[in-house]
Symmetry: C2
Amino acid sequence: MIYVVGIGPGCYEQMTINAINALENSDVIVGYHVYIDLIKERFADKEFYQTPMMGEVDRCKKAIEIAKTGKTVSVISSGDSGVYGMATLVYELAEADIEIEVVAGVTAALSGGAVLGAPIAHDFSLISLSDLLTPYQLIKKRIDAVSSADMCIVIYNPSSKKRSAYLSECVDIIIKNQGEDIVCGVVRNIGRENTEYKLMTLKELKDYPVDMFCTVFIGNSQTKIINNKMITTRGYKIV
Amino acid sequence: MIYVVGIGPGCYEQMTINAINALENSDVIVGYHVYIDLIKERFADKEFYQTPMMGEVDRCKKAIEIAKTGKTVSVISSGDSGVYGMATLVYELAEADIEIEVVAGVTAALSGGAVLGAPIAHDFSLISLSDLLTPYQLIKKRIDAVSSADMCIVIYNPSSKKRSAYLSECVDIIIKNQGEDIVCGVVRNIGRENTEYKLMTLKELKDYPVDMFCTVFIGNSQTKIINNKMITTRGYKIV
């Protein structure tokens, strides 16, 4: 039996009861070492198997190997287990006779959205700027398509050393479609002790320094700043 | 103090610890009567204020009124509190001196995704077909934009009596961009006892009967059926 568990942004309080139950019912917990560190203390009686970044395939193969011995295994992802998470690989690699249960979790679009207020209250797109598995041309095409239809956008993996110019280039595409005054927000360290956020315009986002701990939110034409929060309005008559 | 709480798809087990704590710390819980019914038993010592469908503005005004008396109030949404949830209205209606905390929850794209396997493992868009507050022309423009960029799509509110043809018309737009063989899935009653799902092609989705209890998932060109689940592959080398 394999649970593929989304543990949310990092703190215990943002896990679901289902996620906690899955981990408690497991003999072994498998994951990227940074995520294992986040949960280790709460599940100290478990056996852990951790792998470095980029070790996704090995991690899943190991989980499947352990499940075949009759043990119950949880493979953990931060955020949700489906959204850029480990669920796909587990299904691709496991034989049909291994029972798999995917346990959903709060992805950064939701946990970061809660920090900012209500930035994705209407139709939105979630796009990763990581080009490890996706051509950058396709990423830019998606950014262009969704901003041309006035959709809110959440950007995961907004920066790394190798692709420091990507966010700025993508912002240029959005400015072309939406103008430079659209409300944006950046949240850093979601669900950790030192969570911080900053609101700005698209023009300011273009040169804003983001790192791998940031999630970027870009509003649509109906997004406003209300009481220092980023709020996408939906058109209710409120008078 | 107002908490705006996403309670997930309906069952207690898909709530986060933060959501449970917020409700436990509240004197009054305010919400649409169907969602109040879902949580009533677990929080039986609370005072409840429920309103019918479409009563969103009144509901928020009532919550603000109660908060002003010094009580702690939770306004609940199903799924997440930000995604088509109540957070926007609470911020729009409340005065700046009322403390507001948004508590994220598992939206149907994630909880339904877990039922199907891993349908939104890559860049995706969330689009509601409800035209109560959004012109249908804009909805179709968004469907066209995101499908032209090979993005997975999750459709909320896929049907109602007044707009029974919308899903079929939107599927036609997607077929034009993606062909009719794209893998799709429909999940019904997510998080309830009688959850069910069905996998199909876009062509089959065109005439598939959906209702207001359904969430629709449309894959991208890399989505496959593996072991009767809907899996969007990401391009990892798995051999």
